[in-house]
Symmetry: C2
Subunit: 180 residues, 2 copies
């Protein structure tokens, strides 16, 4: 029914979110970032997509003006470094997927995620460190087609989160993360 402006479309403010059929099975694993804004932005995005668990290094402190209610909706687990927690998650059946420009990386446009995935992010400047790269099962890469050839860290993380959620729109499928 068109509105008084003759438009089919009317802005819906505070639309209630969709209910997932099952909890998300995506964990974010973040290095110590240079910028607290990036971690905070990532946490906001996680909250919006129903992702509940972020492993972070460094202080793990958020700017709540950026993270918004994501700061309450998402559990932040702070670790000194990623390798021990990644080793444990791998033993528990999670597939470790890095987001990076790397040898043997797969194009995110056609990347097929498994449900139980740990998405591993790199530092803004340094990328994913070699000790972490060595532990990954797979690496996804966002294809760049122009300058500056490099997305903001929180933006690229959001794109990988989006692609995962697009493949599991109703939440996790409960199956262990098999090796590809």
């Amino acid at each position: 029914m068109p509105s008084s402006t003759g438009s089919l479309f009317e802005h819906l403010r505070h639309k209630p979110p969709a209910q997932l059929a099952a909890p998300r099975e995506l964990i974010l694993a973040c290095p110590e970032f240079r910028s607290r804004v990036n971690l905070s932005n990532i946490v906001r995005t996680c909250g919006c997509f129903g992702i509940q668990r972020v492993v972070a290094c460094g202080s793990g402190k958020l700017d709540e003006r950026v993270a918004r209610d994501g700061a309450d909706a998402v559990r932040i687990e702070v670790h000194r470094s990623l390798p021990p927690v990644l080793d444990r998650l791998k033993r528990e059946g999670w597939q470790l997927v890095g987001l990076e420009q790397a040898t043997h990386s797969e194009n995110l446009f056609s990347f097929k995620f498994v449900s139980r995935t740990v998405l591993v992010i790199g530092n803004e400047r340094l990328g994913i460190e070699p000790e972490v790269l060595a532990r990954l099962d797979r690496v996804a890469e966002i294809p760049m087609a122009g300058l500056p050839h490099s997305l903001n860290a929180a933006t690229s993380t959001a794109l990988a989160i989006y692609e995962y959620c697009r493949q599991f729109p109703e939440g996790g499928d409960g199956r262990p993360g098999a090796k590809p």
Copy 2:
């Protein structure tokens, strides 16, 4: 060939971007944002994906520390308001797609873009204004599954850009944007 760390994956710095087979046929149309950082972030993302044209309202000024080389790679056309330029683009055969939570919006996860698309963004606080909504052919919506129920404006824009580029990984197909 595994590296000295035993890893299949090695970080590739400054990897050359992919060459698109044809120019992108996506135009961004942005309102006057509250934050210059948001427009700058969007321009950086556009540059990375090979998108060359952004219509902006307000000052159209960028923070070049945020936009990076996107500030040079992307053409910013500043207009006083969006309706006249949207009317013109529509006459030229572009499909006008809003990104908004609205009545009759379609889930971005399953949204099928046409190549010649103008992606219309809303203001951070106010969303897409009614005079603009009334001109749109379609509205895409990113499904929210948790708090804060609302993504950052530059993040949500990046997700829609990503979804478009995923559907046209080689660039535009040169066909006019038919009505759905």
